[in-house]
C-alpha cells in the first residue's frame, strides 16, 4: 500500500502503517497561551486523542509555603493566578483570619469586595479578549487592554504594584485607600460599562465569532461536576455553584447580584457567562462603593482589624511607641501565638473555587498548605472535551477554559 502511495518511502518489514498523525502542541506554542504540552493524535483535522503534559512551570509553592511565615505567603498566592492576584491574596488572608479567629470590620470587607471584583473583571476581560484573538479578532484585545490598565492603576494607587499586588495584610489593608484611588475607581465605573457594551457588540452577535464558538468544546454538567469544575466553566455548563453565594466570605451576603449560568458548556456559553459576570461584578462594586461611602467620621478611617498580635504596627509608631515596637518585634521574630489546627477556606477566584487547606501545628509557618487550584483540576478534562473535535476548535477551547499555567503548576 505504502509503496504505491509513496514510492520513495519504504517501511520496515512488519510495520503497521500509521493511519493518524501526531501533532505536538506546546509547550511554547503561541496558540496555547501558557506553557503546557498537548500531544494530539489527529485523523485529518479531527482529534482522536490528546495527551497533556503539565508542570513546565512547577515552582513548588506548597513546599515553599512550609518555610514562610503566614504573612509572607501572600507573595506566593500572587503568582498563582496572576491575572487576578488580589483575589488570591484576599483568599489567603481570610484563611489566616479563619485560623486566628479574627473578625474583620465591615469596611474592610467592602473594600476587599471592591478589589476582588475589579480583579475578576480584569481576569475575565483577558480571557474573553483572548478568545476573541483566537477567533481572529485581534482588535478587541488591543482595545480592551487599555481598560485593564485602568484597573491596574487603581491597584497601583492602593498598594503600589500592578500585577503581583501583594495587597492587604492579615486583618485588613496595609493602608487606607487614598482619594485618588476612589477617583480612579469612579472614573473606571463611569467609563467601563460603555466599553464592555461595545466589546459585547463586537463579539456576542458576530456571525464569525458565533460560528467558531457555538458547539466548540462543550461539556455536560454531570461530567463537569465529576471533573471538579468550578467557576465560570461550571456555570457555563448550567450549574449555579458560586462560592460567593454558597459559602459567603467577606460579607458577600450583603450584596445583591445574580449568578449567570449557561446551558451547553461550550465556548460560547463560557464567553457569555464571563461577560455577564463582569456586569454582575460592576453591580457589586457599585453597591460596595456606596456602602463604603456611608461610613463617616472615625469609621471611615478603619482599614484593618484591631489585632496588634498579628497586624504589623505603623512604622512611625514602631519608632516612637514602646508597645508598637514590642509587637513589631514579636510579629517579625515569630513570637506571636498561632493556634494549631486545620482550616479549609475557599474563595471564588477568577477560574473557580480557589481553596486553601492549611494545617498549622502552632509554629510560625504552616505545617502543610495545599492550594486547591481550579485550573489544575479542570484542565484534565481537556482531553475528553477535545476528543473528536476539530483542531481549530481545540485551540479556542483551550483559551476559553482559561488555563493559567502559573496556577495549574503551582
Amino acid at each position: 500500500m505504502s509503496d504505491i502511495l509513496h514510492p520513495h518511502i519504504t517501511l520496515p518489514e512488519g510495520s503497521i502503517e500509521k493511519q493518524t498523525s501526531t501533532l505536538n502542541l506546546g509547550p511554547t506554542h503561541p496558540a496555547t497561551h501558557g506553557v503546557f504540552q498537548n500531544i494530539l493524535e489527529l485523523d485529518g483535522e479531527r482529534i482522536v486523542s490528546a495527551e497533556q503534559t503539565v508542570g513546565y512551570i512547577h515552582r513548588a509553592f506548597e513546599k515553599l509555603a512550609e518555610r514562610r511565615p503566614l504573612y509572607q505567603i501572600t507573595t506566593l498566592t500572587d503568582r498563582l493566578n496572576y491575572c487576578s492576584s488580589p483575589i488570591n491574596n484576599m483568599g489567603w488572608h481570610m484563611t489566616c483570619e479563619k485560623l486566628l479567629k479574627v473578625q474583620t470590620p465591615k469596611r474592610v470587607d467592602y473594600l476587599r469586595v471592591i478589589i476582588m471584583e475589579l480583579a475578576r473583571i480584569s481576569d475575565h476581560l483577558i480571557c474573553n479578549s483572548i478568545v476573541g484573538v483566537d477567533t481572529g479578532a485581534l482588535s478587541v484585545f488591543l482595545y480592551v487592554m487599555q481598560y485593564r490598565e485602568l484597573i491596574y492603576e487603581i491597584y497601583e494607587e492602593i498598594c503600589g504594584s500592578r500585577l503581583t499586588t501583594n495587597i492587604g495584610r492579615i486583618g485588613g489593608f496595609e493602608r487606607n485607600f487614598n482619594n485618588t484611588a476612589f477617583t480612579k475607581l469612579e472614573k473606571f465605573m463611569a467609563e467601563y460599562p460603555k466599553v464592555l457594551k461595545e466589546f459585547e457588540t463586537l463579539l456576542t452577535r458576530n456571525r464569525i465569532f458565533m460560528e467558531r464558538t457555538i458547539g466548540a468544546g462543550p461539556i455536560a454538567a454531570e461530567r463537569a461536576l465529576n471533573y471538579g469544575f468550578t467557576g465560570p466553566n461550571l456555570r457555563a455548563a448550567g450549574v449555579d455553584y458560586d462560592v460567593r453565594v454558597h459559602s459567603p466570605y467577606s460579607s458577600y451576603e450583603d450584596f445583591n447580584f445574580e449568578i449567570p449560568v449557561g446551558k451547553t458548556g461550550d465556548c460560547y456559553d463560557r464567553f457569555l457567562v464571563r461577560n455577564l459576570e463582569m456586569w454582575e461584578s460592576l453591580k457589586i462594586i457599585d453597591q460596595a462603593y456606596k456602602k463604603v461611602q456611608e461610613f463617616k467620621g472615625a469609621e471611615a478611617e478603619v482599614y484593618h482589624a484591631d489585632i496588634p498580635e498579628y497586624y504589623l504596627p505603623k512604622k512611625e509608631d514602631v519608632y516612637t511607641k514602646m508597645e508598637a515596637l514590642i509587637y513589631h518585634f514579636k510579629i517579625v521574630m515569630g513570637e506571636t501565638e498561632i493556634p494549631a489546627g486545620e482550616v479549609y477556606h475557599s474563595v471564588e477566584g477568577g477560574n473557580g473555587e480557589l481553596g486553601f487547606y492549611l494545617i498549622s501545628d502552632g509554629g510560625r509557618t504552616p505545617y502543610r498548605l495545599h492550594f486547591r487550584r481550579p485550573c489544575f483540576i479542570y484542565y484534565q478534562a481537556y482531553s475528553e472535551i477535545s476528543q473528536g473535535a476539530m483542531l481549530s476548535d481545540a485551540i479556542i477551547t483551550l483559551s476559553s477554559l482559561n488555563v493559567i499555567a502559573g496556577e495549574m503548576d503551582a
Binding site: 513546565y56 512551570i57 513548588a60 482595545y143 500585577l163 502559573g406
Partner: protein, 196 residues
Amino acid sequence: MSRPVRFNIHAKDADIRDNVAITEMPEGLQGEGFFATNLEQVVGLARKNSLWPLPFATSCCGIEFMATMGSHYDLSRFGSERLGFTPRQCDLLMVMGTIAKKMAPVLRQVYLQMAEPRWVLAVGACASSGGIFDTYSVLQGIDQVIPVDVYVPGCPPRPEAILDGFIRIQDLVHNESLRRRNSEHYTALLGSYGIQ
C-alpha cells in the same frame, strides 16, 4: 460622544519633520547624490530598528509583556511590530517568567533553533536568577543554559522596564561589530554553554 479613537477630521499636511520619527544618520561623508559610511553602522541601524522578538512567556511576566505589547505601551513603536512565534525567524529571544528545570531543555532547544545573530533578554527576577523561587524545581536563572545579553529586574518588571531592557538590546545591536559572531571570544562563550 467622546471615544478613545477619533476620526482624523483635521488632517495635517504631511510634514516629515513633525510627524515621522527618523533615526539619526550615521557618521559618514556625503555630497551630492552620495553618502558614504561603513557597512557596520548601516547594518546595525537596520537591525536595531526591526528586531523580531520571540516572546517566550511562561508566567506572570508574560502578562506584563501582554501589556507592553498592547495598545497602552505599544512595543511596536520601537520597530518590533512583528512578533514571530517561530524561533527560526526571530532575532531576539525574550524570556519572561519562571523557567522550571522541566522547561530548561525546551528553552535551550528554542535558542539553538534561532539563527545568528541572536540576542536574549531575560525579563524578570525568575528568568534572571530564579527570583523568589529558590526551589528544587526551578532553574536558578536562564544563564545556566543559554547566554543572556540583558537582564531586566522586577517581579514582574513594569512595562516601562521591559521597554527599557528592549532599548538596551537595541543599543547592543546597534553597536555590535559585524565580526563578533565569528570571533573566538564568542565561540568560547557559546562553548561554555556546550553549544558548538
